[in-house]
Structures are given as structure tokens and as C-alpha cells.
Symmetry: C2
Subunit: 344 residues, 2 copies
Amino acid sequence: MSSEPMRVASVGLGRWSKVIGAAATRSDKLELVTCFSRSQEKRDAFARQFGCDQAASYEELLADDRIEGVLLTTPNEVHVETVEQAARAGKHIWLEKPIANTMSGALQIREILEKTRVTFSIGHCARMSGASRKMKELIDTDKIGKLSMIEAHWSTGRAMQLTPDDWRWYADATPGGPLIQLLVHHFDTIQYLFGPVAEVQAFKGSLNTPAEVDDVTAVIIQFESGHLGYCGSSWVSPGVYWINVYGTEANLYQMLDLTHWGDPNIDKYTTLMYQSRGSSEKVPVEIPMRDMFREELEDFVDAIRQQRAPEIGWIEAAQALACVEAAIRSSNNKRPVTIAEVMH
Amino acid sequence: MSSEPMRVASVGLGRWSKVIGAAATRSDKLELVTCFSRSQEKRDAFARQFGCDQAASYEELLADDRIEGVLLTTPNEVHVETVEQAARAGKHIWLEKPIANTMSGALQIREILEKTRVTFSIGHCARMSGASRKMKELIDTDKIGKLSMIEAHWSTGRAMQLTPDDWRWYADATPGGPLIQLLVHHFDTIQYLFGPVAEVQAFKGSLNTPAEVDDVTAVIIQFESGHLGYCGSSWVSPGVYWINVYGTEANLYQMLDLTHWGDPNIDKYTTLMYQSRGSSEKVPVEIPMRDMFREELEDFVDAIRQQRAPEIGWIEAAQALACVEAAIRSSNNKRPVTIAEVMH
């Protein structure tokens, strides 16, 4: 097992690539050596900021023998294509969520992975926050009793700012709007906490944004365990992020301040409250300070070095995306949709 | 228009009758003159507590010419029967929610009311709290911009304490469990705030209670306006009551401490927070101190004296119950159910 840092390249140099690039530089396990974007300007800025090389094309970057893995923050629409190229070049792949825009895209990726055997991990970082890790621990150590239900909300005003030159403007490029952009995170976190989802029902609509994309959604969930869930998002409202868990002995309330989303110290801006049976008092729970962006990359490296599956691999990412696709189908076809139905 | 207090009688002398009886005594507009329950013990206690007479039978009470109206806090299952008897005796009727256990019961009540022309009001007090009144004002005066969605939650641990000698134990007597017992309140309040519901989808289940009744539910809603909503309840968890409204300019968060439910000073134990666009800060909004239990009775009296419809009459109560019935049908039949479908 190598103790050398793994040499990686960043590809797709929008806003989020800097969050991920900075996370890589905080870790001893990764070394960011080069980057690529079709925009020369973005390449120059990224290379300067992180003191790395740049490639003139994605093909050139993938031909670079120094590189073991790629950190892909490309637009959702090209995930399948950028993953396929990297996998065929034998590079391990860390990909920002969502795995793809559609299940058929996710299934194409599975085929590519089966052929190429590279390690593949997806950036569902939210389950790795200190608060989510603590919630999982409290559930697993029976501190909230028997589970009943879970609720999660993620709103931002992003859809109000969209213009036709943003890919997010278009319904095809952003299926379900906040479903694929925001709730796909919660779909991962709630399955991390409550196990696999069996079935969903949903409403969605485009009510207030000037864009053609959907801007509001409400989804209810039945888990395989029988427990119930809800995920909601308004993509035109002030920023909101919370996860509530209801049990027979206690409830848990996680609330995160989205103005700090992307900050590695996000746990400092998060509260986790515990309410016991028979009491209305909400007692703060201490949140371990983690660094979910660094940790998601380190799990990717460790998985490669230890020849094990990453915590969030194809199946976990596909299960989160399946909730998005099931919610879209439910809303469009006016019926409940099972995860089994959309998973193949 | 009489300035005399209206003479009323309390019927069905369980826990809630005392909340309502006390509210009547706080008002100059009502005079509680007699009471009835099949239990001699409860009659004695109630008459002693409120310094009123008691009747030996419901028939005797309804034959009492002093009485203009009845305050019915009878078990849900006998609402149709107790309403019918009172209406045929020419008494005006204030009835604790829900109007009935089923829409067919509510429709029977409508027929009775059409024949007897008595005034009929239902105890959906929650919309009359200071916090709900303030939310309505902020929405109506455009302080939150264009509406996007609304969420409401009401949990209590009540189902964990049920025994077979409580009517709430039985699925038939308590359709949908927390749907008919708790969420019917929120179904009224969210329609007060967002207008009529068009369609619902729901999951429900009996997971953790020893009783046969359902103990958890998650419901999503599309309003006639296109806006979306969610109502959820775990009937086995610590007490929770909140209503969130999401708009393009601001979000509103109402949270009420259920350990004080029934206290006329409930507004003192409620918070209402306002979050503006571009900010994560939640600013407290001053809540007017109201007395929703007194006010719901006074609206009933004023409606009679002024020969107008009460704020919460048959149609409002039926619209709240229709959401319960639509949610039950949706969950049982695995499809979205429109309110139009269940309203006749």
C-alpha cells in the first residue's frame, strides 16, 4: 500500500472545482498536479490558484501518466461522457453529484465501470458532515428508540437568478430542477440514515422562476423498512437546509446554514438538537468537527489503496438518483413509483 | 341584535370539554348553563368546576328552552348522531373537530343543516392562534413575495399510550390515526393560508404503536393555485408542531410548544421567525396575543347574532376532512386523489 499521495487532476473548472481543489490541498493523501477546462481563462485561474499544471485538452490530461485519478466537476449533462473517457484511460474517478441526469446515464456508467474496473466515487458529501455522522451514531446506538419518520428540506433562491446562458435554465439539462440539484444530496443522506427507499410519490412544478426548469417539489417516501420520509425544496426561496428524525424515544433536528455551504468548517455553522420523549425542550448535541470535502476525497484514495469499495460508489449514487427519477415519473404520470422500477 | 350572553350547554365531558368550558367562561358572550355526559361522575365534576346545571340525558338537555346552542366535544364516532339530535331540537351547534370521521358523515351533516338551518361551527382553532393570524397577515400584505410551498408537522407520543379501552385504539374509530386526530387541524390552517387543496398523495402505516390504529403519515399536497404542500405526523414521537411557509422574498417559521396545548396563552409559547431573501438569519416576528379557544366560540355566537356564516362552517370543516379522506384513499389505493373526488 502506497504512502505516496495520489496524483490527481481537476476537470470542469466552475465554482465547485475550487471547493474540491482546496479540499485536495488540505489532504496529505492527494496531490493536485494538473487541470482542464475548455475555457482557457478558467484553466489559467485554477492553475494559478492551486499551483498546478494545465492540459490543453481532456485527451491530453487523460494521457498524462503521472495522473492516477480525476476529480470531475463537469456539468451534469456530460457526466457519462467524461466518466467514460476517464475510465477508458484507466484513471480512477471521483465525480461530483449527481452521478448522471438520468438512470439510463447511470446504467451506462455501470457498464463502463464493469469493463474498466476503475474505482468510482461520487460526491454525496452531505452524509459525511459531522452532524450527519452524529445522527447516524445516535440512531445506531439506539438513542432515539424505534424509528418512525425522517424529513429533509433544501431550498435556495438559485432559480430566481437563472438566465438562458446557464445550463440550469433548461428542463432537459436539469431534470426536476431542485430534485437533481439539491434533493439528490438528501436522497443519499436519508438512505444513509434509514436504509434503502422502496417507493416515492411526488409533486413538482415551475411556478415562480423565469426559467423553464422546475422550481418547487415535494416528495414522500416509503423506505424498505416501512418507515416514512419527506423531502422538499423551493428553488426560489431563502436558503434552508434541515433534516429531522422522529423516533419513539427522541427526535433529532439538524439545521445547517447554507450561506457557508462549501466552507470546510461547515460543522461550525450547523446545529443538532435532541428532544426526548415527554419533553418539549431541544438540547444541543455536540457535533464532531469534520471536513466532509476532504474526507470524501480521502475515502476515494483509501478505497483505491486498500482495494475496497468506496463508501459512496455506483450503487449508493444510483440509489440517490433513482429517487430523483422516481419522483419525476411519479409527478409526471400521477402514480407512486418504486425504486425497483427505475433501477433497471 | 341581542347583547345578552348566549346560553349554551356542554356535551361530551372528556378532557377537551374543560378547555372549551373554560374558554366560554372567559367570554362575556357565552353563559354555560348546563352539561351532559353519560358518565354521572364526569357530569358531577364538570357541573362543580363550572358552576352549571347538569341534565340526566342528552334528550333532556336538548329540551331545555334556556339553551340556544350546544358545545359538542363528543367522541368523533358519534358526531353525526349528536349533531343531528341537536339540530332537530333547533339548537345552534359548535362542534370540536373533526366534523366527522368520514366524508359520508360530513355529507349527512350537510343534509341535516340544510333542513334545520341552525348555525354550525367547527373547532379548527389552530388558524385562530396569534401566530397563524400573523402568518396570514404577512402573506396577504405581500411580505413574503410570491408563494412557493408550505409545510406543517404535528407529532405527539399519544399512540404509544393507547389501550383497547380507548376509542382511539381502533382503526375504524380513528381513520388514518394522526390524520384525523392531528393533521386535520393543519389541513384547515394550510388552506386558510394557501387556499383550497386540489389533490393529495400520501403514505401511512402502523409501525410502532401497540394499537391497531395508524401511527405515522406523510402527505403531499397540490393547491388549486399550483403551490405545493406537505403535512407529516408521527403519533409515537415527542411532541412537535410547526408550520413553514416559503416565498420568493422570505420564509416564515411558526413553532408552537405542544406541552401548552389547551392553554389559552398558547401564543406565549409560540415563536414566529422571518427569514429574508439573501440572508440566513431568522428574525423573530412579534405575535399578537390572542385567545383562540375563546375566539372560536365568540365567532360562533357572533355568527348567530349577526345572521352570518361563521368563519369555520361546514364547507371549511369539510375541506379539512376531505384532505384526511383523500390521504387515506391515496395511501390505500396507491394513487393521487383529488379533493373533488371525495367531496361528494
